[in-house]
Symmetry: C2
């Protein structure tokens, strides 16, 4: 794995993958960094610089082979491996994410949800069972779980993250409104409200206020 | 409104607001950029640099007044105004966002959802009515709508965004898996799958693979 790739580049990788997949679906075989930049509303130089973090993928003057580049980026992200995911917290957001079909298309399989609420435990979201929180540790011991999506209320988030970490989980996608940082854990803190506030700032800036 | 504030700073503003609100809730009255940096896992210099985009908020050597700084950042984001929001697409994600209570606490009120599915139209999410898409334009003409949350399927996203834009909406928070860019519109493209992929990259990088 390449080292010292910046957070900004990591955030752009999925977007490159997404656009290349779309271009491939449209039958485009080759594309220059200039054209890719125009479609993605960025610059050719940004694209070349990003790709150079991974050794660069193009031959000068020939552009990129769309399918190969897409596959190479998928490999860098690690999409070729497939991932088993659990959702901890089966409230509205948890259920919505469990039912989000785009994940499955990219090799992410959600295998179980966990909750404490007797109204949802024992039920299912689509085909995915909602299990009691008491079963969480045992489930992780007996099944492969690569990633946990955390959607419990704020006051339970840190304890739930610690429990997951102690049980051996190494990656958490956290939707609870509190930042999680734990040793030996990679965590993406989503903070939905932050996105809405960034949009609000831009709306006001656009209005010249 | 201050000009030329970078995307990175805009993204950090809500996080400052969030941490300052938490500190205020804990009874902290004053904080140095050094201590704030430690809590937020950033540097004092980053914080001072960010705040300088807005003229700076502290007196050298005295640190920041937590409550005043929080209020000032809220004002910069535009949180003091209150916002009326509609959700276009009343599927799982749309319903989950409509029911997300943290938005209301910050002055964002969701007033209606819109969908085409006869199984959900006429119903409600909590107290929020689900109205038919045919009513969308008229609703926007007759009611104040500051922001639209877009959660329709991919194939309908661009048309729905155009419709919203034509009806006078100036801000869209887009959860559909396709980037939206339209003139005279500010749009935050969320791309849930991108976040999961960024996490996947980091998980593999942490595993040294």
């Amino acid at each position: 794995m390449e080292k010292r790739v910046s957070e900004a580049v990591i955030r752009r990788l999925p977007r490159y993958y997404r656009y290349l997949k779309m271009l491939q679906g449209m039958g485009v075989e080759r594309i220059s960094s200039k054209s890719l930049g125009e479609i993605m509303e960025t610059t050719a130089s940004q694209i070349r610089q990003d790709f150079n973090c991974f050794g660069g993928f193009g031959q000068q003057g020939y552009g990129y082979h769309v399918g190969e580049l897409k596959n190479r980026i998928a490999e860098i992200i690690g999409l070729n491996k497939g991932y088993q995911i659990i959702v901890v917290g089966a409230g509205n957001i948890g259920q919505a994410l469990a039912g989000y079909r785009a994940f499955l298309q990219e090799g992410y399989e959600i295998t179980a949800l966990f909750d404490n609420d007797p109204h949802v435990v024992g039920g299912s979201v689509g085909d995915i069972p909602v299990l009691p929180m008491d079963d969480l540790e045992r489930f992780i011991q007996r099944n492969r779980v690569d990633i946990a999506i955390l959607t419990v209320p704020e006051q339970h988030a840190k304890a739930a993250a610690q429990l997951l970490c102690d049980a051996g989980i190494r990656a958490i996608w956290n939707f609870a409104p509190v930042d999680i940082t734990l040793e030996n854990l990679v965590c993406e803190n989503v903070q939905l409200t932050d996105g809405l506030m960034a949009l609000t700032y831009k709306l006001n800036a656009a209005n010249g206020q």
